[in-house]
């Protein structure tokens, strides 16, 4: 066969080879088909470990109770024992190293998340003690009268 017929054929082969080499170099070695098969499990395996190494920030009461036993005991003996410290005090992350001080949210808007009265008969919300935030001591913070760690209707 004539040379001019071969030439474009060689070009095509070289282009395909270049693409395959580029793909080999670019795609990570652990990219492939894993447990869930091709349809759901085609991925880079090391990404799973990357997600598992994500930083835990919300540490829960277990993290707080050893250094703040008095606050922990007070809180656990009252109705607010169901609420995590970090819901009001902010996420602990690596406290006391980082951050050295947590920012406490004492605002009314935090309390009325649960305690703004909503008359919902088929939800637990309807059973919670609630106020109308537009009428109930509008110029004061709730913590002026109510102990947030161990609340009762009597106040501090």
């Amino acid at each position: 066969m004539k040379n001019h017929v071969y030439r474009p054929f060689i070009v095509v082969v070289v282009v395909i080879a270049l693409i395959l080499v580029a793909r080999y170099l670019y795609v990570p070695k652990d990219f492939g088909i894993y447990e869930r098969g091709f349809m759901y499990g085609y991925h880079r395996k090391s990404n799973e470990a990357e997600w598992e190494a994500f930083k835990v920030k919300f540490r829960t009461k277990e993290y707080c109770k050893d250094c703040h036993p008095d606050k922990y005991e007070a809180n656990m003996s009252g109705k607010h024992h169901v609420i995590q410290c970090e819901n009001c005090h902010g996420v602990a992350i690596d406290h006391p190293e980082n951050p050295p001080k947590l920012t406490i949210d004492r605002s009314r808007s935090l309390c009325i998340r649960c305690h703004a009265k909503l008359p919902y008969p088929t939800s637990k919300r309807g059973d919670l003690p609630g106020i109308n935030p537009e009428e109930h001591n509008t110029d004061m913070e709730c913590v002026t009268c109510h102990n947030p760690h161990k609340p009762d209707m009597e106040g501090w």
């Binding site: 869930r36 759901y40 499990g41 991925h43 169901v82 995590q84 996420v91 998340r113 909503l118």
Partner: protein
Amino acid sequence: MRQTRRDFLKTITRGAVVSALPLGAFKFLSPKEARAAVESTNVRWGFLVDTYKCVGCGFCVKACKLENEVPYDAPVTRTWVERYVILKNGKMLADTPMGGRDGFTEQKVQEQDVPPKDIAKAFFVPKLCNQCENPPCVQVCPVGATYQRADGVVLVDRSWCIGCGYCIMACPYGVRFFHPVYRTAEKCTFCIHRLVKGMNTACVDACPFGARKVGNLKDPNDPVTKVVLNERVAVLKPEYGTKPQAFYIGLDENVR
């Protein structure tokens, strides 16, 4: 060429046998594929939501955003809480201001006053990724950036995602969104970094009323599995065939 009847029949039989062999018989499994087909993991994460217990405080949404570094004031969230108010005249009102991040503090729904005597039923429904058994969001990914782990959790590889947005369109539950900082598809990871350390997800820990629970559906003694097996639970949009693994107690037909 002479051909005996015997030779002819032999050839015909051989030809029939060969043509009857399915193509699959010639497929060789790699050792990895063979092992994956035989071994199955003993963990499958699932979620249980009790809509009777949810009070709409939104602590779950707040905790999720802080835990998972989802921009706090951007209108995107991995989990959210919806409020449904069904009136006695059959009309339904629903809202989720900022995904319920700051709780539900107003009686007004969708800018509309709702007199308590008109309410037939009202409740809150927390939503998050259902970690479907057949996740359509994974099927549509053109580059293999999103995938399902052996324990059922669907994740996004941020370094591989090209941000085409197909998966955001494909999810029937609208749980995926575009991360404004990383510029990639973003979704609930079931706090896999916490689950592998033996903790609960951030939203489960933050919930004061136990409305949210996460558990291993392959462990028959897990409290979540017991409820899913023994009590009346429902899933969202079962008609899509996605087999969601987030189960709801007290789901209403008005919830979409």
